[in-house]
């Protein structure tokens, strides 16, 4: 059983929903990547999405884009992201790590090289934002040969036939994009998500996480009521931006704690 599946089964047995924070690797500093992973896990994250910075993050809003630019100017690379995960894995074998990023850095490394290295580092799932079902082809198969979960997005605009495709190819969980927009957008409509989610959960056969636009304990609680997992990204980046140097881990732990309360209140 994959670490992601085991996590969802454990939570289900406890009647809990998953909290999935997202941080960009290499932001705000290179040497904070490992401490932040450690802190997220310690303070209550069930799964961690680790953003692989890309120069042209088309699906991200200004916050995560800024973090990517900073991370790149700090010298973050896909190779270093994998090293950070490997370091984390040496001390934590329980918390799943999902890499989230764009196709080009992976293709530049070579898909096969990347998949082998990700598996060796202890990565659990990979979400490539610009590999929709139309183009993911061999890459999803490749991930599965190494027991990595291919994570797919579904959107408010996705037609039901795409749920079926995702049901056949996804493992781990499915990431439902809660709104028409980019990450960090401010127009989340909980009722709309609630209306769409049951059909998706019924169709895909794996847990469904909801992300984009979830900013606080209240929205996290509302989403946890209707989904299996809640993904929070831009808010973590903003928290890191606002934190005094040296206070980043503590600030992130406080945010995880607040979101945790929200998510658990939904149980």
């Amino acid at each position: 059983m994959s670490r992601i599946q085991a996590t969802f089964e454990r939570l289900a047995a406890q009647g809990k929903k998953a909290l999935i924070p997202f941080v960009t690797a290499g932001f705000p500093r290179l040497d904070l990547t490992l401490p932040l992973l450690r802190e997220l896990a310690r303070s209550g994250a069930d799964i961690i999405e680790l953003g692989v910075p890309f120069s042209d993050p088309m699906a991200d809003g200004p916050t995560i884009q800024r973090a990517s630019e900073r991370a790149l100017s700090n010298g973050m690379t896909l190779k270093k992201v994998l090293e950070a995960v490997a370091d984390f894995r040496r001390e934590n074998t329980a918390t799943p790590v999902v890499l989230m990023g764009y196709a080009n850095p992976i293709e530049a490394m070579g898909a096969e090289t990347f998949v082998a290295a990700a598996a060796a580092a202890g990565v659990d799932g990979v979400l490539v934002v610009d590999y929709p079902p139309e183009e993911v082809g061999d890459f999803a198969r490749l991930l599965k040969t190494q027991a990595l979960d291919p994570i797919f997005l579904l959107a408010p605009t996705s037609k039901p036939e795409r749920f079926q495709w995702v049901a056949e190819h996804a493992s781990g969980y499915v990431y439902y994009v809660s709104l028409k927009g980019v990450t960090g957008a401010g127009h989340l409509n909980v009722a709309e998500v609630a209306e769409r989610l049951p059909a998706i959960r019924a169709a895909v056969g794996v847990p469904v996480g909801v992300g984009f636009g979830i900013r606080d304990a209240a929205t996290a609680a509302a989403m946890a009521k209707i989904a299996d997992a809640v993904v929070v990204g831009s808010r973590f980046i903003e928290t890191l931006e606002a934190a005094e140097p040296g206070e980043e881990c503590a600030a992130v732990a406080r945010l995880v704690g607040a979101l945790r309360l929200g998510v658990d209140s939904a149980g």
């Binding site: 120069s55 042209d56 088309m58 630019e69 196709a103 080009n104 605009t157």
Partner: protein, 400 residues
């Protein structure tokens, strides 16, 4: 040669092209594909497109025999396809008319666009005014500064120009930002992409709208010269003017096709915008797979060209395929060579070319002297150079 009918149903030109976008954009692209398929099969659509091109754009654009220039070079004859004479001063408007008609068919009241030099932005703002659409143009903050006159033109035409402060603050960042707007406002917004890049079906439909250039050339060459050119040359940034003139000639193997990229300060300096000439690795950006200027870690690198319209790290996927298949060849011209060609055309023919087009012209000027006088080189003069006055004056140390 077997019939050329690319892209395939999924938008691939060999290994290039495709639909590399987030799930959030798929439905919009599917809707666009369906609408375009319907429009293509609708004679009324073709008739209205042709009518707009004739009466609004002023087509057909002539082929002009640059006799004084050819005489001076002493070799092959240089012919200019005068896209600079179109309304708005460049080939960009052909595509904008086509996409505006699609937007109207789809009932979208709002159009958005990205622009580098501002030519596509101006063309989009123009058709938006013509068709009564709300219009937002995304432009890199660095380009907003470099192209103040075009920014003002867009505003005069009623468009809102949004400077993009992220990344390198140039065309690629404007494209990212336009994509973000589109995904957020998908219900009422049509994204008018200005070049043969982006996700399928854009490279195909932009090409189709631009092939009016090459189709006219085939008829005009026959009428004026009794034959087709030996060589067709066109500048390639994203590559829409080039694909527009190349595509109708693809089946005619006797016609050599040469795409001219921007060598900037020289390919060897790394400061250029010539992914094909420099054999840049294949990658994924802006929705398609193509040759891409990137570092060893797969991050897109900043490009350089004196011409903002060629200053782009990728290239239309069909060009990548035409290079790989051998049907077209790609070379690059430096800033200095393009500038020299710019001045030469001004003084020998009284035509001020866009710096983009000056790249294609420079290649023709380079090869013409060694060729026999009866060879015909057809250069796509894709735009006029009024917008480049500042850049050219600055290079000469003159303040306007």
């Amino acid at each position: 040669m077997t019939a050329y009918d690319l892209p395939d149903a999924r938008g691939h030109f060999g290994p290039y092209g495709g639909t590399f976008v987030a799930e959030t954009l798929i439905a919009a692209l599917d809707a666009l594909k369906a609408e375009y398929a319907a429009a293509r099969a609708d004679p009324a659509f073709a008739a209205e497109f042709a009518h707009e091109l004739k009466h609004y754009v002023g087509r057909p654009s002539p082929i002009y025999h640059a006799k004084r220039l050819s005489e001076q070079l002493g070799g092959a004859q240089i012919l200019l396809k005068r896209e600079d004479l179109n309304h708005t001063g460049a080939h960009k408007v052909n595509n904008c008319i086509g996409q505006a008609l699609l937007a109207r068919r789809m009932g979208k009241p709002r159009v958005i666009a990205e622009t580098g030099a501002g030519q596509h932005g101006v063309a989009t703002a123009t058709v938006a005014a013509r068709f009564g659409f709300e219009c937002v143009v995304y432009m890199g903050a660095a380009d907003v500064k470099r192209q103040a006159a075009n920014v003002y033109r867009m505003k005069l035409l009623g468009a809102k120009v949004t400077p993009v402060e992220s990344g390198s603050k140039t065309l690629k960042d404007a494209l990212n930002e336009a994509m973000r707007d589109w995904v957020t406002n998908i219900a009422d917004t049509f994204y008018i992409i200005g070049t043969v890049a982006g996700p399928h079906p854009y490279p195909m439909l932009v090409r189709d709208f631009q092939t009016v250039i090459g189709k006219e050339c085939i008829a005009q060459m026959q009428a004026q010269f009794g034959r087709q050119p030996d060589v067709v040359l066109a500048a390639v940034g994203g590559g829409s003017n080039a694909i527009g003139i190349f595509h109708p000639y693809i089946p005619d193997a006797a016609v050599q096709l040469i795409g001219v990229e921007a060598a900037g300060e020289g390919i060897e300096t790394g400061r250029h915008a010539a992914p094909l000439t420099a054999n840049a690795p294949i990658g994924v950006l802006h929705g398609n797979r193509t040759a891409l200027m990137q570092d060893a870690d797969g991050q897109i690198i900043e490009t350089h060209s004196i011409s903002a319209g060629l200053d782009y790290p990728g290239v239309g996927p069909e060009h990548a395929w035409l290079k790989e298949s051998g049907r077209a060849e790609y070379v690059a011209i430096t800033d200095a060579e393009a500038l020299a060609a710019f001045h030469t055309l001004c003084r020998t023919e009284g035509i001020i070319p866009a710096l983009e087009s000056a790249h294609a012209l420079a290649q023709a000027i380079k090869v013409a002297p060694a060729l026999p006088r009866d060879k015909l080189l057809l250069v796509n003069l894709s735009g006029r150079g009024d917008k480049d006055m500042h850049t050219v004056a600055e290079k000469a140390g003159i303040e306007l």
